[in-house]
């Protein structure tokens, strides 16, 4: 509850509940939940067989999960064995994207431009920094561009659109939501999402049994070194013109966006912001360790050797032809979560009530009431979704006059569930 950067979690009836309009899908709660009660919705795997062309879109991070013992070809073979017909890396579009981002920066007066790469960051700006929404680069992220490129290339060869299934193996929850409910585009080009655990287990199983790749087993995309490392911290900022910053970790991003919003920082052209520590290598659905994964990805990039300049410029040309007119995102709209009321006069009354409540609440943010901070409880009360008697401190005071102790007991059971009051040595506890 307290790790949530937008204070979107509340506990009641013994369970954590999500205030949907505040959630930015960053997955910080998923990371720390002691009972792994939070699950990420995924699509049914067998659906891939409804399509003739079954494309696995894999992030470079997936290849980074197998540090020493799996080759690109083995991973490709394992994916073919599961039932995919071709395998391509998400970062295939990165070289084209670099050209487009630099173009965008040259023509955009809203500095600093904020990268649209990380969907959790895009949502963070929408809900918490609405005045910075216009700073987000209206350029599609690599996932969309690559998917679009595959789709357009196949349809150009005469393949009907309903025969193409593009499936993404995701390291993070935010990208799933970005695919289901996209911001800045009508619909996502991705057909479905494949469980990272499922793929990881399957590949590792095959690798451990010494899978031998056949002739045709390969990842189609041939990435440049900087495409390999795009999803890592400084992956973007190192290749954008001007003064660029790279910031990873959701709290670091919030701290910096505060400064940007106050115009305390100037002269910065581009900020790469990623919700996860170590960027996508730290994605919540990755089974491996983030530092080892980042190291493995850098190693993969190092093994590319000499740049195939002709190949890269050809690829940029191809992308321009196939997706050139569809590179941009539609303007994004703010979704401010902070307002107490639409009407300012009402909001002022509510704020006065919040301030008055804060005089009574203890201000130690214990979380026993089921809200992450005293302030958030006060706001909940004013918004009609909380009550003063949820606070244990105020309960003690009320017990002196009007509150029956057994009533305060019932209130606590209602928030945390009956089980919390049982003598039980196996109670789930946080190990952090």
């Amino acid at each position: 509850m307290r790790v949530c950067p937008t204070e979107a979690l509340r506990v009641s009836e013994g369970k954590a509940h999500l205030l949907e309009n505040r959630c930015i899908d960053c997955g910080e709660c998923y990371r720390v939940c002691p009972t792994h009660a939070i699950t990420v919705e995924q699509d049914d795997f067998t659906q891939i067989f409804s399509y003739d062309h079954r494309i696995a879109l894999i992030p470079s991070v997936l290849l980074g999960q197998f540090p020493e013992d799996a080759s690109r070809e083995q991973v490709a073979q394992a994916l073919l064995n599961i039932g995919f017909t071709s395998i391509i890396e998400v970062e295939d579009s990165v070289e084209y994207l670099i050209v487009k981002l630099n173009e965008y920066l040259r023509n955009n007066p809203n500095k600093p431009v904020i990268s649209s790469f990380c969907p959790a960051i895009v949502r963070l700006v929408q809900v918490k920094f609405p005045s910075l929404v216009d700073n987000i680069a209206l350029v599609r992220p690599p996932l969309d561009l690559t998917a679009l490129y595959i789709k357009n290339s196949l349809t150009a060869q005469g393949v009907p659109e309903d025969k193409i299934g593009i499936f993404y193996v995701t390291p993070c929850a935010a990208k799933i939501v970005a695919i289901r409910k996209p911001e800045g585009e009508e619909k996502s080009e991705i057909t479905g999402i494949i469980n990272m655990d499922f793929i990881y287990n399957r590949i590792l199983h095959e690798v451990k049994h010494g899978i031998v790749p056949t002739e045709g087993a390969r990842v189609i995309s041939e990435l440049s070194p900087r495409s390999h490392t795009w999803a890592l911290t400084t992956g973007e900022s190192a290749h954008i013109e001007g003064r660029c910053l790279a910031i990873d970790g959701i709290w670091n991003a919030i701290e910096f966006l505060e400064k940007v919003e106050n115009e305390e920082v100037s002269g910065i052209d581009f900020i790469e912001l990623r919700a996860c520590d170590e960027s996508c290598a730290g994605g919540i659905l990755n089974p491996g360790n983030r530092f080892l994964a980042a190291d493995a990805i850098r190693k993969n990039a190092g093994e590319v050797g000499l740049w195939n300049i002709d190949g890269i410029s050809q690829k940029i040309k191809d992308y321009k032809e196939r997706v050139g007119s569809q590179t941009g995102l539609q303007p994004l709209s703010p979704r401010s979560m902070l307002k107490l009321d639409e009407d300012m006069a009402h909001a002022m009354l509510k704020m006065k009530r919040v301030n008055r409540l804060m005089c009574y609440l203890p201000g130690i943010d214990c979380g026993v009431c089921g809200a992450p901070t005293c302030l958030s409880l006060a706001e909940d009360i004013v918004k009609g979704r909380g009550s003063v008697s949820q606070c244990v401190f105020l309960q003690k005071i009320m017990e002196q006059s009007k509150l029956d102790p057994s009533h305060s007991f019932r209130i606590m059971k209602k928030i945390w569930g009956v089980n919390r009051f049982r003598k039980d040595c196996d109670k789930p506890v946080s190990n952090k």
Binding site: S131, E261, N262, S336, L340, M351
Partner: protein, 138 residues
């Protein structure tokens, strides 16, 4: 609604705290983000002015449904020539302050640009009072 903040002269580490708090309040009151931006930029400039030039100061913010009025009162050296201080690029900031990236001489002009009404009064050797108003409705 009325809010007050204390500002310590010379404390650049904490400069900007009042602006951040006021920004949060205005967001909660559902003020349009473009207007919040103007108020916060003006307030931040004013806050940094106190930190850079004065010994200490107080900020009073009054929020009404149609306007926000801010008064920044400081105890400090005062401004001998206000007209001169209003000129873009003019600054009396000490070299140390300039080294910290402040004192470009754009503070007061920037406040004027972002507000609907602005007034400065100052007594040399006593202090300065800066007042500004930003209208919330066209």
């Amino acid at each position: 609604m009325h809010f007050e903040y204390r500002v310590q002269g010379g404390d650049f580490v904490r400069a900007g705290q009042a602006s951040s708090q006021v920004k949060k309040i205005l967001k909660q009151l559902n003020v349009a983000s473009q207007i919040i931006k103007r108020i916060v930029v003006a307030l931040y400039e004013g806050e940094v002015n106190i930190v850079a030039h004065a010994f200490q100061g107080k900020i009073y913010v009054d929020i009404e449904t149609d306007k926000v009025r801010v008064v920044l009162d400081d105890v400090g050296p005062g401004i001998p020539d206000i007209e001169m201080a209003m000129r873009p690029g003019f600054s009396t900031a000490s070299p140390i302050v300039r080294e910290m990236g402040f004192g470009a001489g754009m503070g007061l002009p920037n406040i004027k640009e972002n507000t609907d009404k602005m007034k400065i009064s100052s007594v040399v050797g006593v202090g300065t009072r800066l007042e500004f108003v930003v209208n919330l409705k066209e």
